[in-house]
């Protein structure tokens, strides 16, 4: 894993964990984020806004899809692949 990916993944995990602290006790890179109801629609937007704040870039709108938010690892890879983020 590249250093950049590891750093972004850590940021994603931290932001998800802080957004739903009561649900993130066993959060890993592979935990389903949306399917099981971990993130509801408000939490998803809070994660997006907090990621933007920490990374200092706009979250690419075309990535606001269920498949992008499957897990923290998938989200990290999608953000890296989009090029404009992180």
């Amino acid at each position: 894993m590249s250093e950049g990916r590891a750093r972004l993944l850590a940021t994603v995990l931290a932001v998800v964990g802080e957004t739903v602290p009561d649900r993130a006790a066993s959060l890993t890179a592979e935990t389903p984020l949306v399917e099981t109801g971990l993130l509801d629609s408000v939490a998803i937007m809070n994660v997006v806004e907090e990621l933007e704040r920490r990374v200092g870039r706009d979250f690419p709108a075309e990535l606001l899809l269920p498949e992008t938010f499957a897990t923290a690892a998938v989200l990290t890879d999608a953000l890296l692949a989009s090029g404009g983020f992180a």
Binding site: V20, P21, D22, R23, V34, D40, S41, V42, I44, M45, N46, V48, E49, F59, A61, E62, L63, L64, L65, P66, F69
Partner: protein
């Protein structure tokens, strides 16, 4: 009352049997299929239940859930849509408070009740197959529901005063309250909407809001009463603005009735600016104020002949004002909520309960509403019903009104301008939230000495709910158990986005919690 809202749909099915009535993930029903399925379930319900029985519907929004709603009405029963996203204790409260005699659900949702099997003991239970299976239930607890129904079974007649549905909304005392909507109420709104909007064959109408909301009354009964195709959007799609955009485009939605929060998210958080929404020709919004600059942006993404309307009306009154948003409105600082619809009578009263005449523009007062679409009251809550009633004298005429709790002012041309509320109710993402309900959940939590929940203006979601909490001496300041407690008892939209711990809350000179100061604290954004 003229024709009932469900009879109108059945008559449309006679006129356009082959047109698509409902389309959702995995399937579609023509008007003929819709009518056949509705009659089949209605026949079973009518054989098992007395007229006027309440039937709870607990399943995700889908074309089949819509069949269930219509079937209840055809059976002469009233439906109670249960929020599929709410935690079970709250859902159970609604089921029991409504005095439901039957529960219609699907196999997946039915499994949730295994936590509380005693709640279903005295109910007729109808478990439909998941997805779009056969029209007949797989399991049912009442023998009459097992009978295969003749396809032409007549519907049971209903009176205008008969209950059509109960819509539960947040209550200040810690539990939700059911708003009773009669057939006369629903029909008054639908008749107005049919006049006002030319929805019809060729239109694809989205069902954006959850079915326990009042917005789908338009989506379902106006559209299906006129031969349009109705497409319920599933909740997974609605969580993601880009997914919602793709869905709007792939379904070629031509009519959308949504809350401003959802439209703001679409503007800011999807790629709608590339390509716009060329199929949308009628956009209705309600429930919140839509910031005019954003509304201008959205208008520019619609086709030139598309029409946009701002509707207003709490669930207790149905829609009672309407304002078309044209170039003139887009030049105002705020779009008015408009003029009265559907024979509604609107009255503004000042603090002394004196009527504010429409000539006195700009003077704020509480908005009272009277008319055929106004609910007779809260279900089995005569205390709340009485508190929300007010009789006013307007030009010698005595009007029995519903107190909306909303403040407004008359503007030029008899148009009303919305001026917010003076109590603990806020709108967040179009959901009506009584902050008292959140506070009552947190007040009993261990370690909490004092607390307050406030609605904080948010650029994307209109309002975000946060809570400020003071810990008892020596108690840990941990937000995790408090959030978990909220999630166990409240629907997701009522769970505070943040819990802030403070050593003390600010108070006004009269000793009340200073909510203005709390909102300012939240806007400073300091987490802890």
């Amino acid at each position: 009352m003229g024709i009932t809202i469900h009879q109108r749909v059945l008559e449309q099915a006679e006129r356009t049997p082959r047109a698509v009535a409902l389309r959702g993930p995995g399937g579609a029903y023509t008007y003929a299929e819709l009518a056949q399925r509705v009659r089949a379930l209605a026949h079973g319900l009518a054989a098992a239940l007395p007229p006027g029985a309440r039937v709870a519907i607990h399943r995700p929004k889908s074309i089949d859930a819509i069949v269930d709603l219509l079937a209840c009405l055809c059976a002469g029963c009233a439906y109670v849509p249960l929020d599929a996203a709410s935690p079970m204790p709250r859902t159970r409260f609604v089921l029991e408070d409504s005095g439901a005699d039957a529960l219609v659900t699907d196999e997946h949702t039915a499994a949730l009740w295994s936590q509380a099997p005693d709640a279903l003991e005295r109910l007729a239970l109808v478990v439909m197959p998941d997805g779009h299976g056969p029209a007949h239930p797989r399991r049912r607890t009442h023998a009459a529901l097992a009978e295969p129904a003749p396809a032409t079974e007549a519907v049971r007649p209903v009176a205008a005063e008969a209950l059509a549905f109960l819509l539960y909304t947040s209550g200040s005392t810690g539990t939700p309250k059911g708003v009773a909507i009669t057939h006369g109420n629903a029909s008054a709104f639908v008749e107005w909407a049919l006049e006002a909007f030319d929805v019809g064959p060729g239109d694809t109408v989205a069902v954006h809001a959850p079915l326990h909301f009042d917005l789908p009354v338009f989506d379902l009964y106006v559209s299906l009463g006129r031969g349009a195709t109705v497409c319920p959007a599933d909740e997974a799609t609605l969580k993601f603005p880009e997914a919602f955009l793709r869905w709007l485009r792939s379904e070629r939605v031509s009519v959308l009735y949504a809350v401003p929060s959802a439209l703001l998210a679409l503007l800011k958080r999807s790629t709608v600016a590339k390509g716009g929404l060329g199929d949308l020709r009628l956009l209705l919004y309600a429930g919140e104020e839509f910031p005019v600059p954003r509304l201008r942006e959205l208008r520019a993404l619609l086709r030139p002949d598309a029409r946009v309307f701002n509707l207003y009306g709490p669930v207790e009154t149905n829609v009672v004002t309407c304002c078309e948003v044209g170039p003139a409105e887009l030049a105002l600082a705020r779009v008015p909520i408009g003029t009265a619809v559907s024979q509604a009578r609107l009255v503004l009263v000042d603090e002394a309960r004196a009527v504010i005449a429409p000539e006195r523009t700009g003077v704020e007062g509480e908005l009272l509403v009277s008319g055929p679409s106004v609910s007779p009251g809260y279900w089995r809550r005569d205390d709340l019903t009485a508190a929300a009633r007010e009789v006013v004298n307007v030009a010698g005429e005595s009007l029995r009104c519903h107190r909306t709790g909303d403040f407004a002012a008359w503007g030029p041309g008899g148009r009303l301008d919305f001026r917010g509320r003076r109590d603990g109710m806020v709108k967040s993402r179009g959901y009506r939230i009584d902050l008292g309900e959140i506070e009552s959940v947190l007040a009993d939590a261990p370690g909490v000495a004092e607390l307050a929940a406030v609605g904080v203006p948010h650029p994307e979601r209109t309002t975000e709910v946060v809570a400020f909490v003071v810990a008892r001496d020596g108690s840990a300041r941990d937000e995790v158990p408090l959030l978990a407690r909220c999630r166990e008892r409240l629907p997701p939209y009522m769970v505070p986005a943040h819990v802030y711990w403070r050593d003390a809350l600010p108070h006004t000179t009269t000793g009340k919690v200073d909510r203005v100061q709390l909102v300012a604290w939240a806007q400073e954004g300091a987490r802890r």
